[in-house]
Structures are given as structure tokens and as C-alpha cells.
């Protein structure tokens, strides 16, 4: 059963936010995964595997009582902001925004069509709920940093979340932003790395072997680092809560994920997990069937498992 959580508000503000249970979050992620597959296959293009690796994280963020937002007040100054820096995972964002109530799920089937608000990469001018126009990789962390700094200038308490791709962090600008976020001690900025281990032309450890050691790098840049399984909802939720408690440092959640969410049509392609490729009708049927089996992926334990996190004061972060 959902728990409605009261968010402390300024006088006169009335706001409550959805906070689904772990079982409900699992069910939501399953349903949104279906939508990702269906909308991309209908469109004939899109990035389903890149979107599927992100969906559990996004589901937890939006519906687990973490991100503070109100679809009826998209310009609410105190809202938290989410930036999908890996903009090609737009189908995941669109599914989440529809589920959140920004627009009707019926519109999802217009993905990438002429005249649709759902462009191939998110367009903040066209679609309500989109905080940044991304797609040219490497820019979203800086954009998020800018929004987080604005909160400080305006003395508002909102947080900014930015999701990065593991290929995306090849871009130098990511590291410029990382240094700057650390310099300004921006603790209202949480980055999430969708570490699905494949980029467009191959495995990340082939295209850029020097990427690792990643935890060491982010810590060296002054970030507080968490490392989790990006498909375990309990761990995801625990980590989002823990990140909010980290003082004076931006936080990086390195989430190990599966590009294609372990669905066999994607697993079969061990070069790039069908980057940018949609499933044909036969593959789609197979994938949807496997999704049904996956429906209850996680256990419903409220405790984190071996790859997740605990109390920042305690110091254990991996």
C-alpha cells in the first residue's frame, strides 16, 4: 500500500508526494519497461537497451519518495530537478514522466514522430517535466551543477539529480563539472552513473580501458561515492536516502546495470547490446514474455544487500 509522505513546506504550501512500496516500485519498473520496448518498436528507432538499464533507478527516484515534484506545478521553484544527461535514454524518461502524470501514457506511442513532443532526445522547450535539453553527451552534469548553484543563490532547498552514461564520461567536460562541483561543495547535487558496461561501438572496458578505477577517480575529484546494483530496488532506495545525508560533497552513485535489463534479444548482442536498435515484432514478443518472468526481480527486504550502502557518518560506502 502506498504511503503518502508529507514534505515540510513553507507557510501556505500544501504538498504531498507519492511514495510507493518496494513491491509497487518493482511493478512500476516492470510496467515502464514494457512501455519502453513498445514505444521504441513502434517508433522504429530509439535506444531501448540504454533506456532499460536506467529504468529501475528512475522508478525509485520518481516514485519512491525521493524526488520532490508536482506535475501540476512544473515550474514550482522548490521542486527537485532530474536531468537525463544520457539523453538517448529518453524513452525511459518519457515513460516515467507519463507515469508521474505530466502527460498521458497514450502519447508515448508518438515517440519520434513529426510533431510529437517526445523527440528522440529530451527537449525542455517542447515537453513539460524535462529540465534540460540533452543528447550531446557530456553537458548534463554541468547543467545540473548550474541548477544546484542557483538553489544556493536563491536560498532554496531543492536537490538536483543527474544521470550519466558510462560512455558519456569519456567526455572531458564531465570531469570539468566534477572538479567544479567539488570546489563549490555542492551537496545538493547527486549524480547517478548508469554503468551498463557497453557504449556504442563496444564494451566500455574495450573502448576506454582507462575508465577504471572509477570509484577512485570520483573520490579523487572530491565526490562521495556509492556503488550499488542498479536493479535492486531496496539498494536503490537506501542509497538515495543516504546520498541526501552527505554534507559538503556532491554524491556519485555508481549503479551497475544491465544494458537491456537482461532480456535475451539484447544479451545475444555482445558487441554493444543493440545500442540504438529496436526489437522487431518477434524479438519484442520474446522480450515482453521474459519481462513477465522478471516481474518480481528483487526481494522485498528493507535492508540493503552486499553491494549497497549505509550511513555516510559511518564511512562504509561500498
Amino acid at each position: 500500500m502506498s504511503v503518502m509522505m508529507e514534505v515540510p513546506t513553507a507557510p501556505g504550501e500544501q504538498y504531498t508526494m507519492p511514495r510507493r512500496s518496494l513491491a509497487e516500485l518493482q511493478e512500476t519498473a516492470w510496467r515502464l519497461s514494457r512501455q519502453i520496448l513498445e514505444m521504441t518498436s513502434t517508433a522504429g528507432s530509439g535506444h531501448p537497451s540504454s533506456s532499460l538499464s536506467a529504468i529501475d533507478l528512475l522508478t525509485g527516484l520518481y516514485f519512491g519518495g525521493i524526488l520532490r515534484f508536482d506535475p501540476k506545478e512544473p515550474d514550482w521553484p522548490r521542486r527537485d530537478r532530474f536531468i537525463l544527461s544520457k539523453g538517448h535514454a529518453a524513452p525511459a524518461l518519457y515513460a516515467v514522466l507519463a507515469e508521474a502524470g505530466y502527460f498521458s501514457a497514450a502519447e508515448l506511442s508518438t515517440l519520434r514522430q513529426l510533431g510529437s513532443r517526445l523527440e528522440g532526445h529530451p527537449n525542455r522547450r517542447r515537453l513539460v517535466g524535462v529540465e534540460a535539453s540533452t543528447g550531446s553527451l557530456g553537458q548534463g552534469l554541468s547543467m545540473g551543477l548550474g541548477q544546484a548553484l542557483a538553489a544556493r543563490v536563491d536560498n532554496l532547498d531543492y536537490r538536483v539529480y543527474v544521470m550519466l552514461g558510462d560512455g558519456e564520461i569519456d567526455e572531458g567536460q564531465i570531469w570539468e563539472a566534477a572538479m567544479a562541483a567539488s570546489k563549490f561543495q555542492v551537496d545538493n547535487l547527486t549524480a547517478i552513473l548508469d554503468y551498463n558496461a557497453y557504449q556504442q561501438t563496444g564494451a566500455v572496458n574495450q573502448v576506454m580501458p582507462a575508465l577504471e578505477p572509477l570509484i577512485d577517480k570520483w573520490e579523487a575529484f572530491g565526490w562521495y561515492v556509492f556503488e550499488i546494483d542498479g536493479h535492486r530496488m531496496a539498494a536503490i532506495m537506501d542509497t538515495f536516502h543516504a546520498a541526501r545525508r552527505v554534507p559538503q560533497q556532491p554524491q556519485m552513485i555508481i549503479a551497475h546495470t544491465s544494458k537491456g535489463r537482461d532480456l535475451s534479444p539484447f544479451l545475444k548482442n555482445d558487441v554493444n547490446r543493440k545500442h540504438g536498435e529496436v526489437l522487431n515484432q518477434a524479438e519484442l514478443a520474446v522480450a515482453l514474455g521474459e519481462l513477465d518472468d522478471q516481474k518480481m526481480w528483487d526481494n522485498y527486504s528493507a535492508t540493503a544487500d552486499n553491494l549497497s550502502v549505509a550511513d555516510p557518518q559511518g564511512g562504509l560506502h561500498r
Partner: protein, 320 residues
């Protein structure tokens, strides 16, 4: 409209200094202005703002791509943002960030690029922006302003913040003559006619406006009356003023501290060709980078002078 005496314009501040002063003043009036600079505040002259309003000033170090996208994020969150660095680094290093973070989403960010042109002198080509007008003008939704002197730079800075939307303001390092006294009008998108004439029109921007006036003085001695237009706004360009100039004077010379193709000359030529074809000649850098040297020496060597403008006028008049 009043302007400084044509015979011997008085010396004035560098446009970067005028900008810095105006920005500082505006910062006190408008508390929503935030400035992002990349380790060059004492060169771009955002320093005074930064010292006065440290809570609204962010030095991101030598990282122009991050600088621009941070500015984008600040603007998305409702701030009125000024992003500053040397024009070469701001436009060239961060072009994709400007394109996707400012132009495409049409966010309210003002870019200020200093050290434009070759007149910066001894530092040499790596610090000189000679293509920034072309780069900025090719961005949809952008306004591009290249002011000619101190007073108009102050006015341009105020106008830029009064305008909602992306703006690129180009400033320079050398001191420049004062062209405008008190009481002049400055409106984005409206060229200022700083000299009347009917034999030819010289359309110039930035430091070449003073050069154009000097050239006009020289031509005047020979009985040739040149109209001089300060085309401070390259985008949106004052098409009506260009058309009137073509109609009324029959020949146009453009002059800019910039490469030949893609800047002021190219935009004017497109308008002339569309609306009122007349002979044109262009004073600009001819497909070359400059080198180290004194600013004045470089302008002389690379043909950005009153004499070059006179020569262009003579040439274009033979084709009338």
C-alpha cells in the same frame, strides 16, 4: 543624436573596461544577475562584479565547456546569467555547449567574449578571436552585438540585460576613441548613423567604426561624402538601414576586425543581394591568422585601417 567631434575623436576606455563597469553597476541594481567566469575575471573585467557580489559570482577555472553549461543550468533555474571568457575560448571551445545549452533551449544567458580581433597584440593568434562573429551569428535565437566604443558598450550591456534571450557581446582589449557622447540612442537591432553622406556607405562594427570615420574624413577632403553606419548589432541586422544605404548611396563597404567570410560583411552582403544589389567591397582579415606584435602594427600589417577603407571605397565606386 550627438556624437564626438569628427575631427580628432577623443580617447576613451577599452570596451572591456566599459563592460566591466556597466556589469558592476547592473549587479547592484538587479539582484538576479549571476556571473560565471573562467579564471580570467581580471581580463574580462567581471572582477569588479565578483568582488562586490561574491555570492553571485562563480569562477569555474579554465574550463569553458563547463562554464557555458553551468550558465545554462543557472538560467534554466531562473537566473539572469553572464558567462565570460576570452571570445576565442568561449566561442570556439564551448560552441557545442552554447548551441545545445543556450541557443537550442533559448535560455537567458549573455555571453561576453573579450580580447576580440587582432588588436590584442603581443599575445598572438591563440588568444585572438577572428571568427567569433561568424560562430555567434550562425546560432538561431541569438542576438549578436559588437559595440564600437566605451559609452555604447555600457549602453549595450544594459540593453543586453533588458533583452530576454541569448546574447553575445564582443569586447576588445585596446583603448578606443569615444564616438558617442551623452544622449545618444542605443537600441539592439538598430544601426546608428554616425555620419551622413550620399556617395557611398561604410558599414562597420567595433573598432572599425572609428577607422571608418577617419576614412570618411579623408574622403571628405576629396569631395567624397561617405555615410558611416555603426552596425553594432550583427544579428538581428538592421536590414532597413542597409537597404536605405544601398538605395541612397549606391555602394557599400563593410569593415570589421574579423575574417572576411561569415561576419558582418557576409550578413550585409546577403541583405544587399536580396533587397537592393549594389557593388560592395569588404575590409576584413583575408583568410589568415595574425601574429605577435603591437596592436596598431598588426592592424596596419593585416589591412584593418582607415587607408584600407579608403581604398575599398575608391574601388567600389568605380563599379557603381
Amino acid at each position: 543624436m550627438k556624437m564626438a567631434k569628427e575631427r580628432g575623436l577623443t580617447a576613451g576606455p577599452a570596451t572591456r573596461d566599459a563592460f566591466g563597469e556597466a556589469l558592476h553597476e547592473l549587479g547592484g541594481i538587479n539582484r538576479n544577475i549571476v556571473v560565471v567566469d573562467g579564471d580570467v575575471a581580471n581580463s574580462t573585467r567581471t572582477e569588479a562584479f565578483g568582488k562586490a557580489f561574491p555570492e553571485r559570482f562563480f569562477n569555474v577555472g579554465i574550463a569553458e565547456s563547463n562554464l557555458v553549461s553551468v550558465a545554462s543550468g543557472l538560467a534554466a533555474a531562473g537566473k539572469e546569467v553572464l558567462a565570460a571568457s576570452f571570445a576565442a575560448f568561449l566561442l570556439c571551445n564551448a560552441y557545442d555547449q552554447i548551441r545545445m545549452g543556450i541557443a537550442f533551449p533559448q535560455l537567458n544567458v549573455k555571453l561576453m567574449g573579450s580580447h576580440s580581433g587582432i588588436s590584442i597584440g603581443e599575445d598572438g593568434p591563440s588568444q585572438m578571436a577572428i571568427e567569433d562573429i561568424a560562430l555567434a551569428a550562425s546560432l538561431p535565437h541569438f542576438t549578436v552585438v559588437v559595440p564600437a566604443d566605451g559609452p555604447s558598450t555600457q549602453a549595450a550591456t544594459r540593453a543586453m540585460f533588458a533583452h530576454v534571450g541569448p546574447v553575445y557581446l564582443r569586447t576588445g582589449r585596446p583603448k578606443v576613441p569615444v564616438i558617442y557622447n551623452n544622449g545618444f540612442a542605443f537600441e539592439i537591432g538598430k544601426a546608428n548613423q554616425v555620419r551622413e553622406g550620399t556617395d557611398v556607405t561604410i558599414i562597420a562594427c567595433g573598432i572599425m567604426v572609428a577607422a571608418a570615420l577617419a576614412a570618411a574624413q579623408s574622403l571628405n577632403a576629396r569631395g567624397i561624402q561617405a555615410r558611416v553606419l555603426d552596425m553594432h548589432t550583427i544579428k538581428p541586422i538592421d536590414e532597413a538601414a542597409i537597404q536605405r544605404a544601398a538605395q541612397e548611396t549606391g555602394a557599400i563597404v563593410t569593415a570589421e576586425e574579423h575574417l572576411l567570410d561569415g561576419g558582418l560583411g557576409s550578413v550585409v552582403a546577403r541583405v544587399v543581394a536580396e533587397r537592393q544589389p549594389v557593388p560592395m567591397a569588404f575590409v576584413a582579415l583575408r583568410d589568415t591568422y595574425a601574429e605577435s606584435g603591437k596592436g596598431d602594427e598588426l592592424l596596419e600589417k593585416y589591412g584593418l585601417t582607415p587607408a584600407a577603407i579608403v581604398k575599398a571605397v575608391e574601388q567600389v565606386r568605380t563599379r557603381k
